[in-house]
Symmetry: C2
Subunit: 119 residues, 2 copies
Amino acid sequence: MAQKPGSLPIGGCCDTLALPLEEQDVETWAALCHALADKTRVQLLAVLCRYAGEVCVCHLVAAFPLSQPTISHHLGVLKSAGLVRCKKRGPWAYYYPNWEAINRLRQFIERIQAQEVRP
Amino acid sequence: MAQKPGSLPIGGCCDTLALPLEEQDVETWAALCHALADKTRVQLLAVLCRYAGEVCVCHLVAAFPLSQPTISHHLGVLKSAGLVRCKKRGPWAYYYPNWEAINRLRQFIERIQAQEVRP
DNA sequence: CTATTATATAGATAGTTGTCGATACATCAA
DNA sequence: TTGATGTATCGACAACTATCTATATAATAG
């Protein structure tokens, strides 16, 4: 078969394609994206950021056309990913964004974007 | 039951919690995150960005411990989400990042982050 | 044309996830 | 204590997904 025309000098010297990201980073970023891979959770995080400080779960349940257990589930997913935290006061639970995790997500995008070669 | 202590003046005037994001934006961002909600796809996008221009699929298949159809599947998911594009030259397929979509993802994070109140 | 190679698609399967109703747990009022 | 309310958990089910093998499609070499 023909010599590949666009055959890249991959890595500059060899034919082996190096994976740029370390396993742990891949794990972290995939987990963060996974937590935001659902429309309800994207909107939930946006609400928490918009009304940060804290938002009571009962308000969230009222704002979404979903059952209370489902909202609780989505909040749990966001919390497991570290994107939000919560504290309980009396019988109420208040969720709020974890800006550090959100920042990690932005750094991921920026690291990817840093590879772009602009004209 | 007791008056809620942390009861927020949500929205400033009423008890209804407004959803900050429009349906279409939520859809877009969830779809982008969904495409990156998998370790293999995160690494794939990183590789494509690192070696942009273009990367031949056969190199990708060689670099990952997964079957060729599985790599093809993941590239298809990234392509459906608009994060990458591809062109065929002869029998080879070359994938490359779509920086515009990656930028949309960064704008999402930034819009979320813009709500943060710094001390 | 035939054989070979690169890639995509199809089909199957095990595992995951979003959703709900039912229920348990915790907190507070009375 | 009893009842009411806010929240989390459980169990179930349908839908989706990551992966594989097998196969189809496309392009090129001989």
